[in-house]
Homo-oligomer: 338 residues x 2
């Protein structure tokens, strides 16, 4: 059924090589010949076979993306940025949802090894540095989003966790809060550490005492934020504000507070991270830090595709994009008396 390149060649009365040249816009073909070839292609309704092209050219113009859960808006938006850019540059995107399972994430690396993809983008990956380094050293192209690594050939795209976290805490401090709880994400993820670092930094610069009891661990899920809040409350250490390492957990805080009859923001102020759409719809609306998710995906993709081609790699290996605090109802009550 499918026509092949030779069929076109025969019909146009040229060699396969010429057809190939036309297909790849080689400049060395006469306009006249090209036209004949194009017409034959049209006439036969010919479509170049991708697999043959891939095998011969040793590239697939496909990149893989590994994310933890496509149902989480953060990841979906990053994928959108990646896919959009890839489309514009004539690349395809294979999406790999790891379901939060490290073994699946590992498994997907096979796509790189068997050359199904030219490059693999890891979003918020928990894979060990050594593993990633080894991949890169073996000539595999990987890129990181929301995490950085010390390796010359691995481009990274991220926001400045320390910076925006410092901003969040300063915002709390400006409102008179002195006992601020922090709910961490997965401890293995760098973001968690860095956000904590920002928290500490802000306290330090204002000389506010730090209470380790006010740090709790979550898992970036609503349920995690919910139970962390419960644990915090049981400690009987007063606190008037909570910084949650992401919006999902902030929603969990909100839920716990509703149950306990704690009024937001009067009794407790909340700020999350990601600017998940839900934060705008919930009552009270949640303050959060906007992460330019689409941009994170788009910029890294652009960079990684440039590196795959022959274009000289310009620009920094690590791309930092700005994120900004969005103050909504959940942190809009000023405690003048404290």
């Amino acid at each position: 059924m499918d026509r092949k390149l030779v069929d076109v060649a025969k019909l146009a009365d040229v060699s396969p090589a010429t057809v190939s040249r036309v297909l790849n816009n080689s400049s060395l073909v006469t306009k006249k010949t090209a036209e004949r070839v194009l017409q034959a292609i049209e006439e036969l309704n010919y479509h170049p076979n991708a697999a043959a092209k891939h095998l011969r050219s040793q590239r697939t113009r496909t990149i893989g993306v590994i994310i933890q859960d496509i149902n989480i808006a953060y990841f979906a938006e990053i994928i959108k940025g990646i896919q959009n850019t890839a489309y514009a540059l004539n690349y395809k995107v294979i999406v790999c949802d790891s379901d939060n399972k490290p073994e699946k994430e590992q498994d997907y690396l096979g796509l790189l090894k068997n050359r199904t993809v030219d490059a693999l983008i890891l979003v918020s990956s928990t894979l060990r540095d050594e593993l990633l380094t080894e991949l890169a050293d073996n000539g595999h192209k990987i890129g990181l989003i929301g995490r950085s690594i010390d390796h010359d050939s691995i481009p990274c795209c991220l926001t400045d966790n320390v910076k925006f976290s410092t901003d969040v805490i300063r915002h709390f401090l400006d409102q008179g809060h002195r006992h601020i709880a922090y709910i961490n994400g997965y401890p293995e993820i760098v973001d968690s550490y860095e956000r904590l670092e920002g928290y500490m930094k802000a306290l330090k610069e204002r000389r506010i005492p730090f209470f380790p009891e006010l740090i709790e661990c979550g898992d970036f899920s609503e349920e995690g934020g919910y139970s962390a809040t419960k644990r915090l409350l049981r400690k009987n250490i007063p606190f008037t504000a909570v910084y949650a390492a992401n919006d999902e957990m902030a929603l969990g805080v909100l839920k716990a507070c509703r149950e306990m009859g704690i009024s937001i923001p009067e009794q407790l102020a909340i700020v999350g991270v990601d600017n998940n759409r839900i934060t705008e719809y919930v009552t009270p609306s949640l303050s959060t830090v906007n992460q330019p998710k689409f941009q994170l995906g788009a910029l890294l993709t652009e960079k990684i595709i440039a590196q795959l081609g022959d274009e000289p790699d310009k620009g920094p290996r690590i791309i930092t994009v700005e994120s900004e605090l969005i103050v909504r109802e959940s942190s809009s009550y000023v405690h003048s008396s404290r």
Copy 2:
């Protein structure tokens, strides 16, 4: 750098064919030989080249999915169902976000024609029947989600729009509503018609008069629902309930009501469709129809992959999955006096 099959063959002192047999678990290999080969594979850290495999076998074990916007939870969850099932069956998934642009959707069909994918799943596609029929007739494998078509070789997976829409309207009628508005989605999409059909059906069976002025068109977006509501209100025809063809538009209705000081559900009841997570978080929480999105994706993928293989195709070509009305605050006020 990369090792190839012959390298393994040489090291294991067997023929390439044997290595291939081992790789594909052909039963015709001695355990002993197989072990030797496996060891060589290990030793050389060999990974079979995907492109070569694809070219030779004429299959890529890859399916494409075309969706309108991955940022919309409905599509993201369907993709999750597809990807999850594909992973289990050792298939890859290329995601194609059409950004609501028909020309992009068209463009992605190229993946099928150039054999980049073995099959293509179209979600809520607006492509014309004839085009899809032609593709299928030309031996291309496609599958539909959220839409059906009359063609023997195109599997479809969908919910019964008429049925659940009838349920929604009955629910309104049971609460005493007699003037129920309907906000349609894109008129080109079958769902829109079928949901309207269910609306009419329920009215008819209860002999409730139908007012064409209470039908408005939206575009499945929040903004569309918002402006449709405004238009409805300007008509000065009383109505006490709104059925929106999806949750996004229901959110738009809610927004408009907030602005106009209309209280939900006392003055106006709202029901949407999709069970978007946001509907649970918003105040008042929105009644909606749960669509088993993951399942829609998973079932169709299973079916389509079965058809790609040699397994006899059992089960119906058109798979209908159950959706159910979820009553929340936005439609929980009974108008006993009407």
